[in-house]
Amino acid sequence: MSTDITHDTSHGGAAVATPSETLREAITRFRGQLAAGNVGPLSSILGLVVLFVLFTSLDTKFASAGNFANLINQAAAVTFIAMGLVFVLLLGEIDLSAGYTAGVGAAMLTVVLRDTTNTLLGILAALGTGAVIGLVLGSLVAYLRIPSFVVTLAAFLALQGVLLAIIGDGGTIRQPDDTIRTIMNDNLPLWVGWTLAAVAVVGFVGIGLFGRRSRVAAGLPLRSGAVFVISAIVLAVLAFGATAALSVERSSRPELTSIRGVPYIVPIAAIVVVGLTFVLTRTRFGRHVFAVGGNAEAARRAGINVARIRVTCFVIGSTLAAMAGILLASRNNSVAPDTGGAQTLLYAVAAAVIGGTSLFGGKGSIIAAVLGGLVIAVIANGLPLIIQESWAQFVVTGLVLLLAATVDALSRRRSPAG
């Protein structure tokens, strides 16, 4: 009988051994991406390194442990707004009202906490307010096709009024909840910080190995193993290095109060970053967001509900802005009529764009917004140590944004499809 033989062939049919990519090939591929104008977050990483070296060499206070924690604190809210903006920018739209959405979210949180003292209810009120704002903005853009620039400019003005109305005549309301205050002002126990760093590295390696294994099982070519190992090492150095730096005592009077450990906001932000990256890169919804941003007509013909994708992205954007509002309320421990105002929105747009998110849509990532947010925070934090004049700080920040937008525009021109 020959049944054994037929079994064998049907089983091994597709398992053709495909060669794995070498490090040299990986470098060639990377250079090809650069040549095609796909710079990604590379420019912001370079920017961070340059700024770090520059500020460290000019002022010793910059690289201190206390300032490092400060930096994270300053970057957090802007980065959350920027992560939300990534969803909107990926569509080729803009949200100018995200800053005041954060302000209104913060005000809702504080008012609900003042009246009910229920932390969860306050958080839900803030996030719900953000979602509703996003739903209204998104519907106006997606169904009535009003340019998002106009819709969100109108919302930018209107939400300032809403913020004033919620706060009332007092001018500033204190944030009464201790749990909320903890998010931006307290630190994890040292051992928790180290454990989380280890979990992050192990998780990265585990997910990477699992993915490689399933590709091998399917007979698909692998990306370079050397690149994978190098990224794992870089992540480990960054995670443990940052934890070590944050575990140093940064109180000026340690005998009175000890300030050391990873701030609570770090693991919260890490979870949001991983979650949103998953949504954008691993789900059908995320794929459709990129498709609508790349070619809305092609997406429509492929049967994608383009309007629904647009509305959802605005809802996500405004909800993340409201989340940033919670962080602002936590950091200042109060809400004022200018919470989320001033440069908040412009810094967030700058963060997303500096990180490599295209203003033309279809290109961007969550981690880019984080890196861009860090660049903005480093400038805002380091510049005053060198130049005290505030006019110079505005000019420099503006120039950095202009530089990032120029890189975006030039890379578009270089890409053959641009």
Partner: protein, 279 residues
């Protein structure tokens, strides 16, 4: 040997058979009783001058808009195709001239756009990449370096290849190609025409809209020539010369072949609407 005359009604079952199709946009009659067939394993070239009604006919077949009158049969059964999704379910795929690709996405993502495979909430990238690779290999496509490269980095011919491969990924029975070689250079035109031929050789019905008579004579088995909203003739390419087809396109009839529509009658009817809608 090719038969000297058309064998009359074909004994085979066509994948698509349209009979007496009519379509108007407002007062403008674009299709006036068009008959059309496409058979499995054959490339049927759909030719005609601008405004003859080719695009309107194809969009109707693809369910972009319904026909006003006439009979639409698919695989020998009468159907009403009212939406693109329904056309896809029947196995009708159209590759439009603009290709409808997302430049920022890679080849695999484009091929599965709108019909992604997923296990639970996560996209099943492994399975999609594998199917895309197999489909491209099945079409003997060797010009793509990696199915994970972004479409923006591909040449015109490679993009066309991706769009065609996307159309055959779905167990489609008929693939309609709108001017696939219009924007391509000589070498890339060769590659795409070879690919079109391979689709038919795999048993699919292929409809090729083209203005290029060389392409038509090279790759098509049959030619359907439209003239002012009517089907002037459907003939085998082996019977016709380049000049015969040009005559059918420009005057609606061919003296040499003895086929075509009565041009005088058409002219008389056409005096009211000289401006043909460009569909």
């Amino acid at each position: 040997m090719t038969p000297p005359v058309d064998p009359g009604p074909d004994a085979r079952v066509p994948t698509i058979r349209l009979t007496g199709i009519q379509k108007s946009f407002g007062a403008v009659e674009v299709l006036r009783g068009v008959d059309f067939e496409a058979y499995p394993g054959e490339v049927t070239a759909l030719v005609g001058d601008n405004g003859a009604g080719k695009s309107t006919l194809v969009k109707g077949m693809a369910g972009i808009y319904p026909f006003d009158g006439g009979v639409y049969e698919f695989d020998g059964e009468r159907v009403e195709v009212t939406s693109p999704k329904q056309a896809n379910l029947l196995g009708i795929e159209v590759v439009y001239q603009d290709l409808a690709l997302c430049d920022n996405l890679d080849v695999v993502s484009n091929m599965f756009l709108g019909r992604e495979r997923s296990g639970g909430v996560t996209l099943d990238e492994t399975s999609m990449e594998r199917s895309a690779t197999e489909t491209l290999a099945g079409l003997s496509v060797r010009t793509l370096r990696s199915v994970r490269s972004a479409v923006s980095s591909l040449s015109g011919g490679q993009r066309q290849t991706v769009a065609i491969a996307r159309a055959v990924l779905w167990n489609s029975k008929i693939v309609i190609l709108d001017e696939p070689t219009a924007a391509l250079g000589v070498a890339q035109t060769e590659q795409v025409l070879a690919l079109v031929r391979r689709l038919a050789d795999r048993g699919l019905a292929v409809v090729l809209i083209s203005h290029n008579m060389n392409d038509v004579m090279r790759v098509a088995d049959r030619v359907a020539a439209m003239y002012l909203g009517r089907m002037a003739a459907q003939i085998s390419t082996s019977r016709a010369t380049n000049a015969d087809i040009v005559e059918l396109i420009t005057s609606g009839r061919s003296a040499a072949l003895g086929v075509g529509i009565d041009a005088a009658a058409v002219e008389a009817q056409d005096t009211s609407d000289t401006e043909e809608a460009v569909a």
